[in-house]
């Protein structure tokens, strides 16, 4: 019974142990067989595209620490002393000794280090970066070589495994380090053995030379035996009897692998991906592809890719109040989110060295203008929210946007990236934020400039604008409202005086649309945050003083934008007006053909004077605006006795002839100088004056003129009457029909010392007499008035010359005998009383 019990207990224990082992097996099985259950199949091997260029040349895939971590993971323990059993009877150390092979201690790759020479590169086609010398770990050597030559360190790691199994070998021999990458080792030869060139021995030499070879192949794609984008004959095995196949190599990385190892796996090798094929199987490139996939994921396509599922924006992180990104205030924080579908074949995580992040793009790593203090950095807005997002699952990225202080539209582009590894595909995802004041129509001034003219080359100081100055203004305004400004023909966007809206501005210029509408905006459309430009002329008021001009915008027919007004303060001061006299000349008339002197003039004599004046000040004289007139002086505004009707008035002989006289240029003043019929020695003083502003006091001029005692006398010379004005058929004044018109006249000699003029301030006329200024019954419509039949015909009649007076003489309707009396008179001065005329007339 005891025996039975013991046996029973034994069986129970055995049963229990079996169950425990089974249990442990169940626990461990997912780990132990993880790789053997990998989906990788030999049918996926693409002979023409073993690995993509983007993967092969990606130097940023691992840090030195990650490489070391990887080596540690593949070498949990090292059989340093070779104590593990090699076979059922021998330890590894014993087996090695029996075969004449290296004895312990053995150094695993994870613990391996060596002295590395300093390498200085910089050649035109090989490795570009240098390597510092010193004692370095295997991980650091792999990393340095990869970085120096632009190769993915994962490629070098896989090469180390495929050539010498160094990544997982717990008791490697020195020869494995010496030929670590199989560099300078032919794959064929006597017995197809590897007969390596000892010149390239050494771990560093092997890793670095292999990396350099890959760089050399890439730099000289046309020189090597395998070339991408070409059909290439490739052996299956070093034994050429195994045959060849034709492979179209799709990329340089694959071509480089074939240059390095010139065989492709046959079907038998691919059918048994983790084992052996047949006698014609070669495994180098198969193993490279398989190991890369097992350790570092797909060597093809986008391992990491995504599609945008949705975006959202809220005022708060609890996501209760949605926010319109088109209506954001400056500095407003917005909580936004992105839902992204994992369309790649790799899980996404949010811990470790390669979390999935949302980063700025356009360009990549751009410093964002909406960066918030909660971001990882201003080019990394968020980390994946979920700890794990498998392929075809959706991940979330949420973060705060800190709106800029400046108004405008901001497009912030983002994409996903695998941190410290690579960017994913850019789906063009962005957040468009419109920062505005919140008003429908609002604006602010971005810049304000004043120029001398529309070429905008010479700036004008707005604090030094002079009265009546014309200046060119350029205003750049920013649309800070929500609405766009549409400046089309039906709704032009204009600048206009305001306070009140549509006020007529005192700075109005003839080029303005009107004095209540200044100018139209240059652009056809200005969106929120964009600038619009208004350019226009101003004419400063003639009156000095301080002006506060307010302006605003309007979209004609749509809305005034008077929530904001631009106040422009102008202090209008006197301009700098100076002049100098250049010349003073006198002529008989405005044709200026016959010069005359004017120091002594006959009474009533007129001479035409031209004064040339240089603008020696700093202000342009503009006709009708701020041009100085010639004025009488001593005292100012004195009524001149030489005044002529052609003068502006008797204290202003003349305005400037020119339209505009810039500083340094010359102005011309021409005017009649009309001697009075009064004896005397006259000194006539003149100066320039800017009306309403100032006299130009630095210079003055005067004319000295002597006038003799006037003698204004005449004698009739002849009288006549004709039927017509050509004076061909004489008419009989004693036999006129009622209403008949005859052309009558007389001539008179100037027997005095005065000049008679037809024009001017005192022209010589015929006037009715007995009494003076009688209204004549013979008045004709051609008369100046019914008391003034006509003017002297000649322009001037000098002393002793004869003047002519012709006029139509219309018989009254009433018959009878008439005696019509006439005299000469200097209009505005006096009648010439010493003689008179009369026409005896009979109307039948």
């Amino acid at each position: 019974m005891r025996l039975l019990t013991k046996n029973f207990l034994k069986s129970k224990i055995l049963f229990g142990l079996t169950l425990v082992l089974f249990t442990i097996g169940l626990i461990l099985s997912p780990i132990m067989f993880k790789n053997s259950t990998s989906a990788l199949s030999g049918s996926e091997f693409q002979a023409g595209n073993i690995i993509e260029d983007a993967v092969f040349y990606n130097t940023g895939s691992m840090t030195p620490q990650e490489i070391q971590q990887f080596l540690n993971s593949k070498l949990p323990t090292c059989d340093t002393n070779g104590t593990q059993m090699y076979n059922s009877t021998q330890t590894r150390a014993q087996w090695a000794a029996a075969n004449g092979r290296p004895l312990p201690p053995y150094t695993c790759l994870k613990d391996y280090s060596q002295s590395v020479p300093s390498v200085t590169n910089g050649g035109s086609d090989l490795c570009k970066n240098s390597i510092a010398g010193g004692t370095k770990s295997a991980a650091q050597i792999i990393y340095d070589s990869a970085q120096a030559c632009g190769i993915n360190p994962q490629v070098l790691i896989v090469m180390l495994q495929k050539e010498q199994s160094l990544i997982t070998d717990t008791w490697p021999w020195p020869i494995q380090y010496n030929t670590a990458m199989g560099y300078a080792c032919p794959d064929s030869g006597p017995n197809n053995s590897a007969n390596c060139n000892s010149n390239f021995f050494g771990f560093f030499n092997q890793v670095y030379d292999a990396a350099k070879a890959f760089r050399r192949y890439e730099a000289n794609p046309n020189s090597y035996n395998y070339k991408h984008d070409r059909n290439n004959t490739i052996l299956y095995h070093p034994n050429t009897a195994c045959g060849t196949s034709n492979v179209f190599i799709e990329n340089q990385a694959t071509a480089s692998l074939y240059i390095y190892t010139p065989y492709r796996p046959n079907l038998a090798a691919l059918n048994n991906l983790y084992g052996t094929g047949d006698s014609c199987s070669a495994y180098g490139n198969r193993n490279f592809w398989r190991m890369f996939n097992d350790w570092f994921g797909s060597a093809h396509g986008q391992v990491h890719s995504w599609e945008l599922v949705s975006q959202y924006a809220y005022t708060d992180s609890s996501k209760t109040t949605p926010v319109d990104l088109n209506d954001i205030r400056p500095g407003q924080r917005i909580f936004v989110g992105v839902k992204a579908l994992n369309t790649g074949n790799t899980n996404w995580g949010n811990v470790g060295n390669h979390p999935i992040l949302l980063g700025t793009t356009g360009p990549q790593d751009r410093q964002s203008t909406v960066c918030d203090s909660s971001w990882l950095s201003c080019n990394r807005s968020a980390i994946l929210k979920e700890p794990l997002v498998a392929p075809n699952q959706i991940g979330t990225f949420e973060f705060w946007l800190d709106s800029p202080e400046k108004f405008g539209e901001y497009t912030e582009n983002f994409s996903l990236l695998v941190s410290n590894y690579k960017w994913m595909n850019d789906v063009g995802m962005n957040f468009q934020v419109r920062v505005s004041s919140g008003e429908s129509y609002d604006w602010q001034v971005s810049s304000l400039q004043y120029f001398r003219d529309s070429s905008k080359k010479i700036a004008v100081n707005p604090a030094a604008i002079k009265a009546s100055d014309v200046f060119y203004t350029r205003i750049v305004v920013k649309n800070t409202g929500i609405n766009d400004w549409v400046n089309d023909s039906s709704t032009p966007v204009r600048l206009a005086p305001s306070s009140p809206s549509g006020r007529l501005s005192k700075f109005c210029h003839p080029d303005w649309l009107s004095c209540g509408r200044i100018v139209r905006m240059n652009e056809s459309i200005v969106k929120t945050g964009q600038n619009g430009v208004f350019e226009y002329w101003n004419r400063a008021p003639a009156k000095i003083g301080v002006y506060n001009e307010k302006f605003t915008l309007l979209e004609e027919g749509v809305s005034w934008m008077d929530s904001y007004e631009m106040s422009l303060y102008y202090e209008i001061t006197h301009g700098i007006y100076k002049w100098s006299i250049t010349s003073q000349k006198a002529y008989t008339d405005p044709t200026k053909t016959t010069p005359v002197g004017f120091s002594s003039l006959a009474p009533g004599q007129r001479v035409y004077i031209e004064v040339r004046a240089k603008n020696t000040g700093g202000t342009t004289w503009r006709s009708g605006v701020n041009a100085p007139n010639l004025g009488t002086n001593a005292p100012h505004d004195r009524e001149s006795k030489f005044c002529d009707t052609s003068w502006l008035n008797c204290s202003r002989p003349s305005a400037m002839d020119e339209q505009e006289v810039a500083p340094g240029e010359f102005a011309t003043y021409g005017f009649w100088y009309n001697a009075p019929y009064e004896q005397g020695s006259y000194i006539e003083h003149f100066k320039l004056v800017v009306e309403g502003r100032s006299w130009l006091n630095e210079n003055a001029m005067n004319f000295k003129t002597n006038i003799d005692k006037p003698s204004i006398t005449w004698q009739p010379v002849s009288m006549y009457a004709f039927t017509d004005s050509s004076k061909t058929i004489p008419a009989n004044l004693t036999s006129l029909s009622p209403g008949q018109r005859v052309y009558v006249g007389f001539t008179a000699r100037n027997t005095g010392n005065s000049y008679w003029y037809r024009s001017g301030s005192k022209p010589l006329l015929v006037g009715t007499n007995v009494p003076h200024n009688r209204m004549s019954a013979f008045c004709d419509s051609t008369w100046l008035s019914c008391a003034r039949p006509t003017l002297m015909q000649e322009f001037v009649t000098k002393p002793n010359e004869i003047a002519t007076f012709d006029f139509w003489y219309r018989a009254p309707d009433q018959t009878g005998s008439y005696n019509e009396h006439f005299k000469l008179l200097l209009e505005g001065r006096s009648w010439l009383n010493e003689n008179a005329l009369n026409f005896n007339t009979v109307v039948n």
Partner: protein, 172 residues
């Protein structure tokens, strides 16, 4: 006795349930190699990977076991493989290599058609595992006529020699 047996059975059952739970938990986890990193497999080595070191040593033993230097014996027969010899637009490209030696040498390309002959040469140099001939690109203007040409690629060095041939169509 019976009580002990029941307790023992319960313990076994508990262990089984725990095991099943752990297994199901493991199975339900996404198949991530390492939670720290989705692109690098930090798992412990597989059995096959663990065994790779031993196999490598067997290969070393199985081979000649000799590491020869440049001064030692070399094969006197160079195996030439013509990878490509074709016309690409107005050029004939030829790419070939010596697959069983690693050394510097000279490659000679002889194109013949009837009595016509065109000879080109390029350097060959020691590389990672072969001796590639520097590829040549010959303008078709150097060929006298269209048609099928015979190409012989010869490799020669101080210690090895070999040749291979192929045919190619040239259209002028």
């Amino acid at each position: 006795m019976k009580k002990k047996s029941i307790i023992f059975s319960l313990l076994i059952l508990t262990a089984l349930l725990v095991a099943i739970g752990i297994y199901l938990y493991n199975s339900s986890k996404p198949q991530v190699s390492n939670s720290d990193n989705q692109t690098i497999n930090y798992d412990p080595p597989t059995a096959e990977e663990k065994n790779a070191g031993d196999k490598q040593k067997e290969k070393i033993i199985d081979s000649s076991n000799e590491i020869i230097t440049e001064s030692e014996d070399k094969p006197d027969s160079a195996n030439i493989l013509i990878v490509d010899a074709n016309q690409y637009e107005d050029f004939i490209e030829v790419r070939a290599f010596v697959e069983n030696v690693i050394e510097d040498g000279t490659c000679t390309y002889t194109f013949t058609k009837d009595s016509l002959e065109l000879v080109k040469t390029s350097q060959a140099f020691a590389d990672a595992s072969t001796t590639p001939c520097i590829a040549i690109s010959v303008s078709i203007e150097e060929f006298a006529e269209s048609g099928e040409w015979r190409l012989v690629v010869n490799y020669a060095s101080s210690s090895a020699e070999g040749s291979a041939e192929t045919k190619l169509e040239i259209e002028l």
